[in-house]
């Protein structure tokens, strides 16, 4: 399923809404999650999962082509942990 199919499903269920509003709603949800993580906040959606930010410490890396050591700066990366209900549903338990 891709973004446009998700929008279509929700538009079909809500015939009283304009499609452009449904697009806006779906986009807002994803946009809000990214904005939160960009601020370093966490988004916890019980039953679905939680989006959070993990810190990767600075480290010495290597240029794979030349073998030279290079300093890799500390950075922050997005992380998703599946919620219990969804994990159970994936395994036919709920």
């Amino acid at each position: 399923m891709i973004r446009s199919e998700l929008i279509q499903k929700i538009a079909d269920e809500n015939p009283h809404l304009f499609r452009r509003d449904v697009e806006r709603i779906v986009n807002t949800v994803f946009e809000e999650i990214i904005d939160a993580m960009a601020r370093g906040d966490r988004v916890e959606l019980r039953g679905f999962g939680a989006f959070s930010v993990k810190k990767r410490e600075a480290r010495m890396g290597r240029n794979p082509r030349t073998g030279d050591s290079v300093e890799v700066e500390e950075k922050h990366v997005p992380f998703f942990k599946t919620g219990k209900l969804l994990r159970d549903r994936l395994n036919g338990l709920a």
């Binding site: 973004r3 949800v29 916890e44 922050h76 997005p78």
Partner: protein, 102 residues
């Protein structure tokens, strides 16, 4: 680094602000987004949201684990796990937004 935790309510509030539906309907629509994603994944589909990321289901075969308390070997049954791969855009925005903070 921010240390707030957002919930469904905050996402619904954003929809309410941006689109101008009632709070109640905004909350229902947020729920419906999450439900459609979950249902597709449970059916074994991959869910690919451009500029956000990709959720995919992986099949894990049986392996031998250990009870960390007793050291006893126990089989871990085959299972399906969800993995999320963030888009480049998400990675860039998260990296840029958190630079030199905490």
């Amino acid at each position: 680094m921010g240390d707030k935790t957002l919930t469904r309510m905050d996402l619904a509030e954003a929809v309410f602000r941006d689109v101008g539906l009632s709070r109640h309907e905004s909350a229902q629509l947020v729920e419906s987004v999450l439900n459609h994603i979950s249902d597709a994944l449970v059916e074994g589909q991959q869910v690919k949201i451009s500029s956000f990321g990709t959720f995919s289901v992986r099949e894990k075969s049986e392996r031998i684990g250990r009870n960390p308390k007793t050291g006893e070997e126990v089989p871990i049954t085959p299972r399906r796990v969800l993995s999320f791969r963030p888009s480049h855009l998400m990675k860039e925005r998260v990296a840029a937004g958190n630079k030199r903070k905490g």
